[in-house]
């Protein structure tokens, strides 16, 4: 397939169009050189505005909503990613038709019910009503318009994409050592099924943030390099801000979130020695990657168990 078409049909389709409109690739006209970065900074502000409006809509006090939005806007990671020329915050504002289709559909058609039991709920997720709802969404029309190439480059890419370079994904080492074995396809399928299993249950507003966190954490690839690859962390960082106001974590438990930085720094130190010093730290990166997964799962588990929906909070104050 033509390389230009591959780029066009990637998830950054709209971003590329915007950049072309600004003429950022016109070297002659230096005035337009930084327009792409201005666009990404603008999307940071737009994300913050959307977060603020959503938080206020879900009964957060304006002052508290401002604090939570500041955690997104003044986050060094957010600022560094956008000014380096990555469009992750723009992606956070857009809706992924595939990853968020399921929680949106479940909310519209009717969420799983505890009375049905776990296995029956999983089966229900592939029900006729849900299938019909998906058929009426935008995805099939877009796919028909642009064909298989669009589906492949925009959505299926994440299903099949494998990057054997060291990254935060817990599957990195496994995919690197098994890259040339035919049965590695089975392992890729296992990774995807585990990811899919976790994505199937939850309510909408809470789900998008946990959904994205689970998607990123259990993905086969998870990078945070800039500016030559995606910064996966930003995908859920933005949405996690939405649920912070509804967490009932105590300060002691909240401090446990610092574990995330400890896990990340541990991985980064070994990755640095591999990439820039040439030390053979593949085994240490593997262990650090698994440890990072355990820490992330523990934090996610704590967030899930201490989240209170708006209705529960209102009832409590009545």
């Amino acid at each position: 397939m033509d390389a230009w078409l591959c780029v066009m049909f990637s998830v950054t389709l709209l971003i590329r169009l915007a950049l072309l409109c600004f003429g950022v690739y016109q070297d002659q006209n230096l005035r337009w050189v930084h327009c792409g970065k201005l666009l990404f900074l603008g999307s940071d502000l737009l994300s913050a505005l959307l977060l603020f409006r959503l938080l206020v809509l879900h009964c957060s006090a304006r002052s508290l909503a401002s604090v939570h939005c500041s955690m997104w806007l003044f986050n060094p990671l957010t600022m560094a990613v956008s000014t380096c020329g990555n469009a992750e915050s723009l992606l956070a504002v857009l809706i992924y038709p595939v990853t968020y289709a399921l929680p949106v559909a479940l909310s519209l058609v009717g969420a799983p019910s505890r009375g049905r039991g776990l296995i029956q709920n999983l089966v229900w997720c592939f029900s006729r009503d849900l299938f019909l709802e998906q058929c009426s969404s935008a995805s099939p029309f877009t796919a028909c318009e642009y064909g298989w190439d669009f589906l492949q480059e925009s959505s299926l890419f994440h299903l099949t994409h494998r990057d054997i370079h060291h990254n935060f994904s817990p599957y990195f080492s496994m995919l690197y050592v098994t890259a040339e074995h035919h049965w590695s396809v089975v392992l890729v399928l296992v990774c995807f099924l585990l990811q899919l299993l976790l994505l199937l249950l939850s309510s909408l507003a809470f789900c998008c943030s946990i959904h994205t966190a689970v998607f990123v954490r259990f993905n086969k690839v998870c990078t945070s390099q800039m500016p030559f690859s995606r910064s996966y962390f930003l995908w859920y960082l933005c949405l996690l801000t939405l649920v912070l106001s509804r967490l009932t974590l105590s300060l002691r438990r909240g401090l446990g979130l610092l574990l995330w930085f400890v896990g990340q720094e541990l991985w980064l130190s070994h990755a640095y020695y591999l990439e820039f010093e040439g030390c053979n730290s593949f085994a240490l990166i593997w262990i650090a990657g698994l440890l990072f997964l355990l820490i992330n799962s523990l934090i996610l588990g704590q967030i899930i168990s201490h989240y209170r929906p708006a209705e529960a909070q209102l009832k409590k104050t009545d």
Binding site: V177, L187, E277
Partner: protein, 226 residues
């Protein structure tokens, strides 16, 4: 347009003669020397090229033809940025997949233009190699580049045809310097994974992810609102 430029580049080097003497004085040619060094460590290295010659009234342009094996690659986007920021002029003869491992890649050729300058620092990156159960590192050898010279004042003597500049709009006649001081190319060592750990890596990874999955599912089922 881009494919045509690549094709033109590939069609170069069609004629090799022994006509060094036609354009440059043979005495002057003996003063030409070249050195190649590699710096930094790990997967990201810099190739330092330096070409020297004695004073001449002619305006001399130098072109280094560096063949690179499948174990390394150059990033065309990085080279593009460097061309805008520092004036480094490097042309690659084919598209390079920056993510592919060594065993799925092929070698390529880089043309390093030294117009108006006599040295250049070109970034080169190591590819991931096949895991090994016998060795923790792998050595990648880079052969010594070919040196071509061209003068604006001299149109005689066709030795080698190659692009005039990195923009690859036209072809010029270059003179290859064959009698350089003999020096070996450079090499770099890259770490490789341990293939003897396949079973333990797969087993422990799957087990850990399944445990995390079960933990999260349990929490979602227990505390989720249904």
């Amino acid at each position: 347009m881009f494919r045509c430029c690549l094709l033109v580049t590939l069609l170069c080097f069609i004629h090799r003669g022994n006509s060094e003497e036609d354009c440059f004085p043979s005495e002057w040619l003996k003063s030409v020397s070249m050195s190649v060094k590699i710096s930094k460590a790990g997967f990201h290295r810099d190739l330092h090229y330096r070409v020297q010659w004695s004073k001449t009234e002619q305006e001399v342009h130098a072109l280094l033809v560096q063949k690179l094996p499948s174990g390394v690659y150059m990033d065309e986007y990085q080279l593009d940025t460097l061309r805008r920021d520092t004036g480094l002029e490097v042309l690659l003869d084919s598209k390079v997949d920056v993510e592919a491992p060594e065993y799925l890649s092929s070698g390529f050729t880089a043309l390093v233009f030294l117009s108006g300058r006599r040295e250049a620092v070109v970034p080169v990156h190591g590819r991931y190699h096949r895991p090994s159960d016998s060795s923790k590192r792998v050595k990648v050898e880079l052969e010594s580049p070919r040196l071509l010279l061209r003068s604006e004042q001299c149109e005689r003597g066709v030795a080698v045809d190659a692009p005039c500049t990195a923009s690859n709009h036209s072809i010029c006649s270059w003179t290859e310097i064959l009698e350089l001081e003999d020096h070996a190319g450079v090499s770099l060592e890259l770490p490789v994974g341990d293939s003897s750990m396949i079973i333990s890596v797969c087993g422990v990874t799957v087990l850990t992810t399944v445990l995390c999955c079960v933990y999260l599912l349990r929490n979602i089922w227990k505390h989720g609102s249904f």
